[in-house]
Structure formats: C-alpha cells, structure tokens
Symmetry: C2
Subunit: 313 residues, 2 copies
C-alpha cells in the first residue's frame, strides 16, 4: 500500500475466491458455491477472476459441521506447517491443501480476496465479518455493500480480539471476508437467506470490479460491532447447562443489552440478568454450533471506523 | 375395551413413559427428559407411574439425529426379532432393548402410554401425532390437551397412511403419542419451544390422572390433519435439488395450499406451483432431517374425528 494525497493506492484485486462448505451443514453457502462451480457466469467480472470452491467436501457430503475438527479454526501456523500427511486430522490436511491453492497465508502469492460463506441459527441477518480494522479495502467494500443493499441491512462484526480471533479458512487471503447470514437451521436451505447471501456477493464483486477499473473511493465511515467477550451458558458443577437464553434475549441479536436485562432463564423459571458495566450489543445468540464451544452469545461494542480513500495503484 | 351405554371402558393407564432423544439433536425433549430423570416430581401423579427415558444416548452424546440408522423408523417386526446382537446397527440393538423394557410391542405387557418428544425445524407449532384414528383414549387426551392449553394451540397430525406410516419408538406402547414442537434448529434449545412442550406434557399427565381416578370423558369431536402424501424437492437427473421451498410456502405449515399456489422456487428464479386437485394443508415444510428422506413437505387433509365417551373399566 502506498499513499498519495491521503488516498491509499492498493494492488489490484484480480484473484478472488468464494468458499462454501467450510461448515458442511450451512446450506446457503454450500448451495451457492455448488451452483457457481457448475456455471460461474453470475460471479464473473471483466477485471476479476473468481473461483468458487467447496472447502470441506467430506463435511458437505455428511451434512455435518466438520469431520475431525473445525476447519474454520484450523488455519494456524502450527497446522499449516505440521508434518504427518494423511495421518493428520482431515481438516488439517484440508487446511494445508487450501493454503497451497489459495495462499500461502501471509505471502505475496496469496489470493487477494476470499469470501467465506456461512449460515447461523442466530437471528443475525446479514453480517460481514472483518478481521482487521485497518483493512481499508475491506472497509470500503463493506461500506459499498451496505449502501448498495439499502433498504435491506447488513452489519459488520469486527473480530480482532487478541484471544477470541481465530484462524479462519478465509485468513489465507490478503483481504478475508466472512459472510454470515441467518437465521437458518443447520441442514436447511431457506430461500430468503439464500437470496440475501447471493445479493451481497453480487455487490461485493461489483465493488471489486469498480476498484480494478480504477475508480477512486472517497474516505468513508463504517459502523462496526467490535467483538468484546464470549458468554457461556450457566452450568452446574458437572458442566451441564442449567439455563436457556432468556426469551427477551433470544433473537435479539444486535439489540442493546443493558445491565439488569434478562439474559438467561433457568429450567426452574428464574431469570439471570446481564451484569456487565454498560450497554453491549450481543450477537451469535444461541448459535447451534457454539454449544460445544461453551458460548451462548458474544458481546460487542458499537464503533465507527474511518476508511481512507482508496484506488488501484 | 368393553362398551357400556356407548361409553368405552378402557384399562387404566398406569405405566407411562416419556421418551426424549429418539433423535439426539432435538434438544427440548432431550433436555426435559434429562431434567426429569434427575428430578421426576413434575411428572409424577398419584395414579400414574411415569418413567422418563433417553432412547438414543449415543446420538444425544454426539448431538446428531442417529448413529447408524433412524431409531424412529427402527421398530419393525423384522428389526425387533433380528438375531445378531452386537453386530446389528446400534439403533436396531437399541430398539430391541427398548422393546424389552417398554413392550413387547403389541403385547398385554406393553406400557400403556409412551410420549415421544420431538422437535422440528418446520414452523409447525405444537403438534400431537396420532397413529390410529380409532384410539379413543388418545383422541380424548388430545381433545383435553387442546382445550387445556387454550388460547395457545396444538394441532393433531394423524399418520395412519398405509405406506407413509413408520415404525416409531413410541409404537411399543398401547397408546403411542408423538409430540413435535417447532420451529427449533437442530442442536439448539429455545426457551419458548421448551416451555410449550413442558406445558403439553403437564396436561397430558393430568388427563391420565383424571382418567385413572375414574372420571368419565363424554364423546367429543377432534379436528385432525390426515397425512396424504409426501412431496420431494425438484431434482435434476443426478438427484441434485434444483429448487427451494418457495418463500410463500416457507413457514406456512397448516395453511391451505391450493392448486396454482407457489410451491418451489428454482435457483434461477422460476416458480413451480402446486398442481394437486384440491386444497391441502402442508406441514413438515423444509424440515432439516427430511432432505435425506427426499421430502420437502407432506400434505394433509382436515378431518373431524369423533371420540367415544371413555372411562376406566
């Protein structure tokens, strides 16, 4: 990146991938990517080479999140350099293959942009996941998408938390973009969720095309929700869950949660209130896949980020 | 059953079981039964002996529908009498064990009532599943429950279709009662669904208690939805799904579907209308577990059944 009159001059984004099936039971991404692998006309742009790719085909075949371990946590330096070949867990082998095809992660040869398509059982609507608050290319893209889909809405979750950030499949790219759309049960394809995801991808690719054509994007502000902490279900001494997400909180993703607000409801009918110090914005509320990760929801804080003007170098 | 002045005199219903975890990822039933196995005071009645039981513990542990084969299709005469012991599929072994504990199916020693607790990703609300339109005990119980939970509602699905009826876990009992509550994603526990299920069980057990105490229940009419046929997703020559449930039909369980109404939406945006001969009432619309069973939804017909007066013999 070079800077020119406060405009960041960035490399062209010629090589773009769209990942589906990182979790094999999140059906909108799986279905879209399968469609686009058969017929890619919808995702082609003149100035962009886009590759649709199923990242975890064994999990897709079984319609399960993963086979041995969560692929979307598997792109650690340790895994990517682990010896062992076919003795490694399936998803670690797969992470190494993907890193060879689309990376290597952190190298100049890596793909420019990877979109990774996810669904959630939470009532999150359309959510773009940003991994770096200084990624002006992604911030500009997200700003573009938010405007393009109006009056529909699309929020931005920023995960650069030192402990909670994880090693995603998309992290192989220079500009990793997570797209999480819900609510959709695992193993189910809902037309509204499918079409919302498809629409966002269309605008994302349009943005990249415009950028590659040399359009300058002026500075802009982007509202993001910064990941703060994870909240587990209340448990007994044996680790068994003893309360559910409270009905007032259920489906209330992105709505303010204030100290004293109901958070959990025990099986004998008692309410456990939120006891933080100020207003937070919960999300990933009651996501099916996060029971095993000891997470009932995460809290976030609203922030406004400023994206520099950008254009192609 | 004997008849006395048009009142059916039925055996007491002393032995009652509540099954959870027949599908290990349907969390309301799993959670309720686990709770009640620890503390059964909520499900005890003076005149009833109620046993809460997890039917498929391995599937519950893995939070998956089943391990080898669907337990809720496994209670066939062939399976229940199959030799092979530990070489049989896990769920067939388990069906044999359950049949020994709660049956034998079709014998005088069988349990009187088994409630089997299920969740669905479909927008079915509370649904009682009846396997026999001549089961006056169950019809009276369902009538009692429907009245007791007013203004909440609870519909009755009648499955005595010669081809589509299947060999359920609960079929071991003299009076099998399925309870299906949704929408709830697999692997998720929603407080509203959990509490609705719990409330229905309370009233069901109250009914049995009253019956065992000698109360006579007068004749009544019960509206049921009789299972007619299953409808698969449109597929290509390779068996791949090429359309989704249409947004107009999605979540419209129990609403009338008329010839010409939108039924599916292809991935390229075309609408496929329903082409039956008259009004039907679809349900189990877009249930996650039925993709593998080639079923997008089932159709039903509304009927009114008459239940005889009943009392304890």
């Amino acid at each position: 990146m070079t800077s020119n009159n406060n405009t960041a001059c960035l490399d062209e984004a010629k090589r773009v991938a769209i990942f589906g099936g990182t979790h094999g039971n999140e059906m909108s991404g799986v279905t879209l990517v399968n469609l686009w692998m058969k017929n890619g006309s919808e995702i082609q742009r003149k100035q962009v080479k886009t590759k649709a790719f199923i990242t975890n085909p064994k999990a897709v075949e079984k319609c399960t999140r993963y086979v041995d371990t969560d692929l979307n946590r598997a792109f650690t330096p340790e895994n990517l350099s682990a010896p062992g070949g076919h003795d490694l867990p399936y998803e670690v082998q797969r992470a190494q293959e993907i890193n060879k095809m689309f990376g290597p992660k952190g190298s100049p040869e890596a793909y420019d942009v990877i979109f990774d398509l996810h669904n959630t059982t939470s009532n999150m609507g359309c959510t773009l996941i940003l991994e770096n608050s200084k990624d002006h290319f992604n911030l500009q893209m997200m700003n573009y998408i938010k405007k393009a889909i109006t009056p529909a809405s699309c929020l931005v979750l920023l995960n650069e938390h030192p402990l909670l950030k994880y090693s995603t499949s998309r992290s192989v790219a220079k500009h990793p973009v997570g797209l999480e759309v819900g609510p959709q049960p695992q193993g189910v394809l809902r037309s509204n969720i499918f079409e919302a995801m498809r629409d966002i991808l269309k605008h994302a690719l349009d943005f990249i095309e415009l950028f590659n054509e040399g359009i300058e994007f002026p500075p802009c502000k982007v509202e993001v929700f910064r990941l703060l902490e994870r909240v587990d279900y209340p448990r007994d001494a044996n680790g068994n869950i003893i309360a559910m997400v409270h009905p007032n909180l259920q489906d209330g993703d992105w709505e303010p949660l204030n100290p004293g607000d109901p958070m959990f409801q025990t099986f004998d009918g008692n309410t456990i209130p939120y006891q933080g110090f100020g207003t937070v914005y919960p999300t990933f509320i009651n996501e099916a896949a996060y029971y095993e990760k000891q997470q009932a929801f995460v809290t976030t804080r609203r922030e406004t980020l400023v994206a520099s003007a950008i254009r192609k170098a």
